[in-house]
């Protein structure tokens, strides 16, 4: 596939940046600073990489006016280089499909009562259940399963092998990576003398617009009311969202985190990877939880929170851990010493 080529000035115009140097330079792709070629555009967003600027082979670099001081090459000057890079990246996205007409593959099976919009792309092996409503511009990858009564908003894309159970509602402009499962039964069982009695999970899942969901992430349906993911939330791979969780607008959660049932996370939070958040908690807006944190109480103030013990050489770790178990004893010894010393005074 031949790569799209643009003049530097054209790119500047698309993102409201100023050209530094030659506006006619031809750019046919993006690159890192260290992996550049004369026809690639790179970017400098992290000051740690400034050291690579003078030696880059990239034909042009997106950077701030300040960072550009002393840089001789061509570039795009903007106050937010990383955002400009994000915006331009889509010019070279070969995964995007040109949806000019409705395509429904021969092996897809669509219930008669389902409503299918214009310019959709429905690939081989897709299964769409009764009363589903698929809006314009939706992409359903191969072997996607859409349950009864599901609604999918405009321009939302599902990669292959996504499963939506019945009564799941997706907003517009969402992207669900492969293996995502939405609307599976929550883990609800009542103990009884005969074992665990399953509780029918009668709620659904509501996912608002512009939500991004990573590969193999699972979101359970609510027990009685809906599990809710608000607008602009971004979820990485292999995240577990239990029944009746609510995640507020624009919150970002990194891979392999787990959120237990009925917990509510506020807006504009960031949750580091492999964190665990217990059930029935409230996390307010603006909380930042670092990776692998164990959250076992509500967080009522914005701020940065952590737990866990960082990596050590195994021999030192063994000592720390042994001492940790003696902490109560150590505490007692300090008290005894304090008392003794007081007595000697």
């Amino acid at each position: 596939m031949s790569k799209q080529t643009f003049r530097l000035q054209e790119l500047a115009d698309k993102v409201d940046a100023a050209v530094k140097g030659n506006p006619e330079r031809l750019i046919s792709g993006l690159s890192t600073l260290t992996g550049g070629r004369p026809d690639t555009l790179s970017f400098l967003a992290n000051p740690a990489y400034q050291k690579h600027l003078s030696s880059t082979d990239a034909g042009a670099v997106i950077l701030t006016a300040e960072m550009a001081e002393g840089y001789d090459g061509d570039g795009l000057i903007h106050s937010n280089p990383y955002l400009v890079y994000a915006q331009l990246s889509h010019l070279w996205d070969t995964a995007a499909l040109a949806l000019e007409q409705r395509h429904i593959a021969a092996s897809a099976t669509v219930a008669e009562s389902a409503q299918i919009g214009e310019r959709v792309f429905i690939d081989e092996g897709v299964r769409i259940g009764e009363d589903a409503i698929i809006a314009d511009g939706v992409v359903l990858g191969a072997n996607v399963v859409v349950g009864r009564g599901v609604t999918i908003g405009e321009a939302t894309r599902l990669y292959p092998n996504v499963v939506l159970y019945h009564d799941v509602h997706l907003g517009t402009h969402c992207t669900l990576q492969s293996g995502v499962i939405i609307g599976s039964d929550g883990f609800g069982f009542a103990p009884s003398p005969d074992g665990w009695t399953p509780i029918a999970q009668l709620g659904g899942v509501r996912i608002d617009d512009h939500v991004q969901i990573g590969a193999n992430t699972t979101i359970d349906r609510g027990a009685l009311e809906d599990t809710v993911i608000e607008q602009g939330v971004i979820l990485d791979n292999q995240i577990q969202v239990a029944h009746n969780v609510r995640i507020g607008r624009n919150t970002a959660i990194a891979a392999c985190s787990a959120i237990a049932g009925s917990t509510s996370i506020g807006a504009n939070c960031v949750v580091g990877g492999a964190s665990g958040i217990a059930g029935h908690l409230e996390i307010v807006d603006g909380v930042h939880i670092t990776a692998m944190t164990m959250v076992i109480k509500s967080l009522t103030e914005p701020g940065v929170y952590s737990s866990g013990t960082g990596v050590q050489p195994n021999a030192k770790w063994r000592k720390s851990i042994a001492r940790l178990r003696q902490l109560d004893q150590m505490h007692g010894k300090i008290k005894a010493l304090e008392k003794k010393l007081k007595n000697t005074e």
Copy 2:
């Protein structure tokens, strides 16, 4: 879909509860206390929610005689309100299929040597391998893959995109949520000078009756003998069960926990979410492991076990962690102080 409606007395009769108030009240669904309407039935199981009882709009509430004191509304009186709620929930479960006749979708492919029972529902894209035996009343969701020689017991339901490798045996009345994979190869490799030599995984998986398995959970086949999940076990989403693990009757494991190879977990255990249990361990019956615990030794006595450090504001956490690394040094200082003080006596 019109919701089923019942008189309160009808519901009481189904679960052996006593009616409080109006036995003719019509109930057309379940609700929480705070999300109730005049035609919904709610329940009060957790004393923390008692405060919502006086203000609920729910037409009736399931509660104990004790909790009902001072409550004016209609209700169902029972010693175990949560169990009654669980039992009644299935009346409004729209996911349940009425399996009146055998349905095998046009795009399903069933090996000639497979035996298929009565009143099964086999959806589009299902693949059933040679010599598989599918009992009466089994539901196989879209794109389920059933390997050679698999047996599935009566009334067991597999949601879309479940994969059963060859020689997997499922009992009766099990439910497997989407994305579950059973019988994948265990992680067995012998180190050799040329790298890792794979060990063929020759065992299978045996899953007994009434087992519930959550979305994207994986259970590996045994190396030589079977991996075994006993009757009544409930597994949440994204759990990893390695080869030759054995999980005892009615044990419950919450999401994202991982159990390494050849470990045996007893009956009636509860494992909190995102816990890790190392390989070749024995956990006795009646052990309760709290969430995110790292189990690196056998647990030979019933009881509650934990590990990890709970969440703190990041600045405080940094101090705790720094001091944790100095613990051995602190221990030494205390000893020195004790010695000195002894000398001064």
Copy 3:
């Protein structure tokens, strides 16, 4: 299925072992020491199991000359019993397919521009995209999805429901268990006043020869350059590999570990289960990380590393954790005591 039977001498010849006892003994399968029968071959690799040797019912045992001292039964003598067991295990692997001719199932859909090799096995519901190249002897299980421009090397096997996005390159002799997803979009978003702006993920994934990948593991495509898994790497189930990670030759990673973006792991490393490795780190060759470790800094020396606190009875754990939060205070008290004592001298 009748099991293959071999004379002990035949087996010895295959792996260059010496027969102890009766070379004519017939062996029709492998077993553990405790689960043996007169026609099974067992092995003794872990000295902890030596105690079972004298009482085993297995007809023969693979062991070292040293371990065989005092053992009366038949056996195969070799310096590396575990490797011999691994090599012989494949004789009884009923999962292996005899690929004598090309098989493409009726319901598979293969793009016209795709190139398909000889002796492939392509099962029902498989979807192969444009310009894909599938080499000789490749097995694609049911409902596997192969994206545009993917290449799959000779004798590589994909179990059912694997998804390969576009521009993913797999080497020869790899095995991917079910539910594996390769080439999903990395978690790349630029913050903007309107929320998170997605960054098109323009790199691919390169997986070299003899790589093994466990069920439901996810490997994201690179942002600009490729995510790379080098030759001989073995990955267990439910591992998350973020964009632009590089994993060096013969490194082994156990289940449920997560590696954040742009981190590089060296060759011959071992990562224990449920570990987390933060982004933009360098782990050198020969590092061993124990299970559930939180790696938040680069590891520049080979060796064994750990973190976390092991399991304790809950009551003791509560005390340890409370004291951990007082550590800074305890440290202050020790200092005060030291000072006081100095003053009294």
